[in-house]
Amino acid sequence: MAYDNFTILRSSAVPMPIENVDTDQIIPARFLKATERKGFGDNLFRDWRYNSDNTPKADFVLNNPIYTGKILVAGKNFGSGSSREHAAWAIYDYGFRCVVSSFFADIFKNNSLNIGILPVQISAEFLDKIFKAIEADPKTEIEVNLPEQSITILATGEKESFDINGYKKHNLMNGFDDIDYLQAMKEEIKAFAANSPY
């Protein structure tokens, strides 16, 4: 099992109503020098979170103790830019298991699914409702239900469904990953590759 399986997550959420959050913000390149996957959460949103003297920036949401939880809620086009999986690792290592936005960049979405973070894409209207619910009560709980493919603001019961393909859903619910799948079809791959012109 490559990561903990994901079924139903109930949690308060951290709001980040900023659009086009790119992976250089999520984890700046100078923190990509490790040869092992550990400790990336410490540098999640490094330059938004800390001053150059390493003191926390008081106005950044991760430094505000009111906001906690395993769900990150962000503005549209989250995770654009670099393919660095370190961005997803940093989010996971910090303690998030789910990112909610009205739009995700492709590579970030794939990377997240590959390491057990669920990206939940919802309408701009529902995203706005979640931001408002958190603004009204920072401890408000959100339920992300993967088997049902739904997301609910528990205080109001407002609910929306989200898409995920059946294969990835099955993987996440069981903690499987693509490498397991591909290893199981290795002979088929070899036979296919034998006919490749390259």
Binding site: I18, N20, D22, N77, S82, S83, E85, G166, Y167, D178
Partner: protein, 467 residues
Amino acid sequence: MSTSPKTLFAKVWDAHVVKSIPDGPDVLLIDRHFIHEVTSPVAFLGLETRGLTVLFPEKTFATADHNTPTINQHLPVADPLSANQLKALETNTAKYGISHWGLGNPKNGIVHVVGPENGITLPGMTIVCGDSHTSTHGAFGAIAFGIGTSEVEMVLSSQCIMQPRPKTMRISVNGKLNKGVLPKDVVLYIISQLTAAGATGYFVEFAGEVFEQMSMEGRMTVCNMSIEMGARGGMIAPDATTFNYIKGREKAPKGEAWDKAYAYWQTLHTDAGASFDKEYVFDAADIEPMITFGTNPGMGIGISKKIPVSNETGSGKSSYEKSLNYMGFHEAEPMLGKPVDYVFIGSCTNGRIEDFRAFASIVKGRKKADNVTAWIVPGSHIVEQQIKEEGILDILTEAGFSLRQPGCSACLAMNDDKIPAGKYAVSTSNRNFEGRQGPGARTMLASPLVAAAAAVTGVVTDPRELI
């Protein structure tokens, strides 16, 4: 056999599908896998943890580029973390029998420069690398895109990747480009029209007269930045320009193999009547030299224009304001005349010989502005050699510039080439994100001509005045 018209994308994709999973992704065979020191070590570690090996080591090619110094490459790398990553790449590639052009190797350079220039990149291939600018290789009519480290591990262990089939988009630019307009301007213009997320979920084909007339270097610049509009990749149908570029390169097919490949490559174009999920058509006449004013590549304008007044609302408005605030710019200000502290020419976007030729064409007979620090970084040792052989180095030296050694350098500022906080850089690279070129650095993306004009005048200058 179906005779319905197909897109170039569909022809290449379909030829690589090992298996289609119902309500899931396609299992895609990968022909070429490039790796570098930053996104591969954890993948190799994963192989060891799972007890797996590399299925086809001859299909993977390694080069060190992201995290290498661009001066004194003959000395040991000073930063212990960087040195450790370079060592890991060397050890991992040796262990599994993978080709490795490390620091100091005459073939070393930026992965997306060395792949094509050595004939490793060919039409009709599927190509991946743990780097989003892998889209560069699409210039050859390949399906090429960036992947994460888990996927690097997949390709190493199974030569396959699992991908949902993207939608298709065609972007046509017709007509003839204006004076002083380079491929970089074309792609910055397209991104400014589509926005930084306008092609997310799509694979793009660039078509029309402008791309047909464009050199391979130019096509690579355009495809390189496909990811900056959110596209998984961009591709251009191979033609005589492509085949002439490839022929004779070290790893290109030769003799009979060439004839066979050439026959296949001739079929790699979008059939008449094939349909795309989305189409855009632009007129080359509308494009002028471009520059970005904000913190994503979609925030670009013609260099003679003023910074747009935002018509967004809500979080869109506050994100726009945040962006201008970071840059220290205001709505409705002109870009011309803005002060410039640094100029960077290089990267997988504009680190090829044509880019240095363009830069030199403006610098020739002029002097570097005193207030400007310029970093001139070739994309590879082969490009560096060309710069010397063509006399470009003499022109640069005469004008007060010096040449650094190949690498990704200030494009992502992983090494020591960092733009200081608050300083303004005109950069030929691909991303103007906050802190991309160093914490607090302020980046204006532009073509090599705009970079050269800034380097000799010390301010944002229309290169057409200096041509």
